[in-house]
């Protein structure tokens, strides 16, 4: 590694935040470098300091943060730059691509204006770029990132683009000044897996065709395998190891890296027997189910679910897979009586949900457990874990009495492998994984026949996700409840589901035994979904990518 040639070198970076509880070190002693035309991926769990490290490079930290150390970007010592030099450096030396494209773009300006903004903010050769020239440059940029019909769409507003297109536009804005380094902070986390593959392709072409280096922040090992040249692993503000990608994947030295790699779920790695339900009355049966969201004045209603038919049998885990907007959450909510259905028939525990009345359905609610996506918001912050878990019992079985309910809560905590002293804690005192366990405990409190899990692990880190999935599978086997497991992640559903339903645009495109669907998909969409799912192994992923290419 020749340090003269490196575009970015970070030496002994320390970042601390002052909070109400005093000073907290977010990054301590991180040293790393990015060479020319190199993709360095920083991986780590939430709170590992990877985003803070990337923000420190362009001095984008909040006022409460203090950074020490040396950051040399393209020959400039970033920590000692004055305000105007720093402004000059932002955009030209390095540019950022943010996680959430829908909030990174200003909704009241056209995308062309936003791309041109960076161009006009920097005076090349002492002269400000004219408005017309800036717009022409914006059109070129849009074409370069693959927005079709760029000439007219340069005048569109952000809401007129899809999520993937918005991320392309954010990348176009970042590329506008031809920065030498692109800092991409979880650029694909908010996107569907098929779109993710396209964005990663675009980033790869930025490196290959434009010669940019990329600093990629991600928690997804599949993404790392797909694009990175070198990997840096961070944990708890420290850099554990860094090295070429093949070395890290095939021969990790640090225990944490080994654990992280082992926890990444891979399609086809489970030996889970797929349960076949026979001859019992289904817990849920949907026939030609339709769900509409009413449109605004003069706009037709939006049909979220179109003529979907399926059944969930007792003791069976049905995985419902689809991208955002495919209607999968809507179906889950309809079964739980949170969304009214507009056509067809949906029977839950023998109760017809068409013409839903809360009063008639209420007594059946104890037969349904629901695990929400975000464990941070699904508990009332002012109630203790015990009160939260006890709530279903105090609603439906109030005659049990406080001492029996207390005993049952401790039993449930034990079942989900949480220490019983957690009963007195408040939700914010638990970690994400612990909270999701508590959420599972609450769902199971009344021994329901059906548990609906809506993306229960998508807000969790990989290593935590593995444990929660494990727990879910074990409890399901023990208590033998039927379950609808909603997720966008094929690898996750592979771990838990017996049968798969694949939704696309509100329609059920494929249904069948999980092994069959994942090994031998019939519908072209399922094929594309599978091919887009990155494999956490650089060599396999290269082959996998070729398969995806051949599909297009």
């Amino acid at each position: 590694m020749n340090s003269n040639k490196d575009l970015l070198t970070v030496t002994d970076l320390q970042v601390s935040f002052s909070t109400d509880q005093g000073s907290i070190a977010a990054v301590s002693g991180v040293s790393l470098s990015v060479g020319q035309q190199e993709v360095l991926a920083i991986v780590g769990e939430s709170g590992s300091g990877k985003s803070v490290t990337s923000k420190a490079i362009l001095q984008m930290l909040p006022d409460t943060a203090t950074a020490k150390g040396v950051i040399i970007l393209n020959g400039n010592d970033m920590l000692s730059l004055g305000a105007s030099e720093l402004r000059e450096s932002r955009g030209t030396d390095a540019a950022m691509v943010f996680q959430e494209p829908s909030t990174a773009l200003n909704p009241v300006f056209t995308v062309g204006w936003q791309i041109a903004e960076g161009l006009r903010a920097h005076n090349k050769n002492g002269k400000r770029l004219s408005r017309r020239a800036a717009k022409a440059a914006a059109i070129t940029m849009l074409e370069r990132v693959g927005i079709p019909d760029a000439k007219s769409r340069v005048n569109y507003f952000p809401h007129q683009f899809s999520g993937g297109q918005k991320q392309r536009i954010v990348i176009a804005a970042a590329l506008a000044l031809e920065p030498k380094l692109i800092i991409a902070d979880e650029p694909t986390t908010a996107l569907d897996v098929t779109v993710q593959a396209e964005i990663l392709d675009l980033l790869r072409s930025c490196r290959d065709e434009l010669g940019a280096s990329i600093l990629l922040i991600t928690h997804n090992m599949g993404v790392v395998a797909d694009i990175a040249d070198r990997v840096a692993v961070m944990f708890d503000g420290k850099l554990l190891e860094q090295g070429p990608i093949r070395e890290i994947f095939s021969n990790p030295t640090h225990d944490y890296t080994k654990r992280l790699l082992a926890a990444v779920p891979r399609i086809g790695s489970t030996t889970k027997p797929r349960f076949e339900a026979k001859g019992q009355t289904p817990v849920v049966s949907a026939v030609q189910l339709e769900i509409e969201y009413p449109g605004r004045l003069n706009t037709p209603a939006f049909q979220a679910v179109k003529k979907v038919s399926f059944e969930i049998h007792p003791g069976e885990v049905v995985g419902l897979v689809g991208e955002s907007g495919s209607g999968k959450t809507t179906i889950g909510r309809a079964i739980a009586g949170l969304t009214n259905i507009s056509g067809g028939s949906l029977t839950v525990s023998g109760h017809q949900m068409l013409g839903f009345k809360e009063r008639e359905f209420r007594h059946l609610r104890k037969e349904i457990g629901f695990v929400f996506q975000d464990p941070a918001s699904s508990f009332n912050p002012l109630m203790t874990i015990e009160q939260c878990i006890a709530e279903p019992m105090s609603i439906h079985e109030a005659d049990l009495g406080p001492s029996k309910i207390h005993k049952r809560v401790l039993e449930l905590l034990d079942q989900v492998q949480l220490p019983t002293q957690f009963a007195e804690r408040f939700p914010h005192e638990l970690s994400g994984g612990q909270r999701q366990r508590a959420s599972l405990a609450r769902a199971l409190a009344l021994s329901p026949k059906l548990v609906i899990a809506d993306e229960p692990t998508s807000a969790l880190d990989v290593s935590v996700q593995a444990k929660v999935l494990d727990l879910f599978a074990r409890l399901q086997k023990e208590l033998n409840f039927a379950s609808l497991f909603i997720t966008h992640d094929l690898a996750v559903v592979d771990q838990v589901a017996d049968r798969l339903l694949v939704l696309y645009g509100g329609e059920l495109v494929e249904e069948g035994n999980a092994n069959q669907v994942l090994a031998n998909p019939q519908h072209p969409y399922t094929t594309r979904l599978l091919a887009s799912h990155p494999i956490p192994d650089p060599d396999e992923q290269a082959l996998h990518r070729a398969v995806l290419k051949s599909l297009q």
Binding site: R365, S378, I395
Partner: protein
Amino acid sequence: MEKMSSWLFKIPPFKQLRMSFGVQRIMLIVGLAMVSSFLLVAALAPRLAPYGFAQLQYENGDYFGAQVPPNSIHLLGTTVGGFDVLSRVIWGTQTAVMVIVVAVIMSIFIGIILGLTSGYFGGWIDRVLVLVADAVYAFPSLLLAIALSIVISGGRSGLFTGILAAAMSITVIFIPQYFRAVRAETLRVKQEAYVESAKVLGASSLRIMLRHILRNATRTLPLIFTLNASEAILTLAGLGFLGFGIDPTMGAEWGYDLNRSVSDVSAGIWWTAIFPGVAIVLVVVGNTLVGESLNDLADPRLRTRQGASVDELE
């Protein structure tokens, strides 16, 4: 003691005191000091005041005399009506506290109930209530207060009806504020997953409203409370100044004293106007300081923290 102080630091103004820093902390401490001395004076008024608020004579039957300048017997002089200014100012705190308490308690209760129902159920209840609240908002508040005080007490009255009249007119003006704050918070909290989760568990609407929404929707209330307290005092003083306040023989009230001292000012008699005026200003400033600091401290983006800048760490 340890336990006591940890408990103390959980209730609104003291909790914020602990996380405050720098100028914000000084503002909050000054405000709290002013408010607590105001409350203390009100509680100890019978002991602190040298004379009664309606007293005109000494014990031996001699009159105080009107417009006597400050001297050793009447530290702040006497008014045109022959009352002792210092005593009137001190007794006036009691009236002010009572009006604030009655007005704010009434408006908080009604405002919270209306805001919760309106925000949670939505639909036509919500539309009607918002319309009414907006209409009340648009009304000139002092005019409304005058109208109400005439309706309740025929314009001029005794201590209790006077206080009630002032308090109720203030209540009517304040209800929309609490209503809007609670409604907005309810709309926010209603979207939270834990409310949805309670719904899935089969909890009744009443249970969801009381257990899950109410306690999470009241975080802005201490702020509105302190700001409203100062507005309540100003409205009371305004009513008194316009002659719709409390009869001087029934209770001491700063606005009334100011009204009576208008003609004194041009005659060079300064002590009758300045002291009640200063009392009003101090109480309002104290309340506002507490309210504004609470506002800044409630928002993490406005809150300054210890050691936030680079040079302080080095």
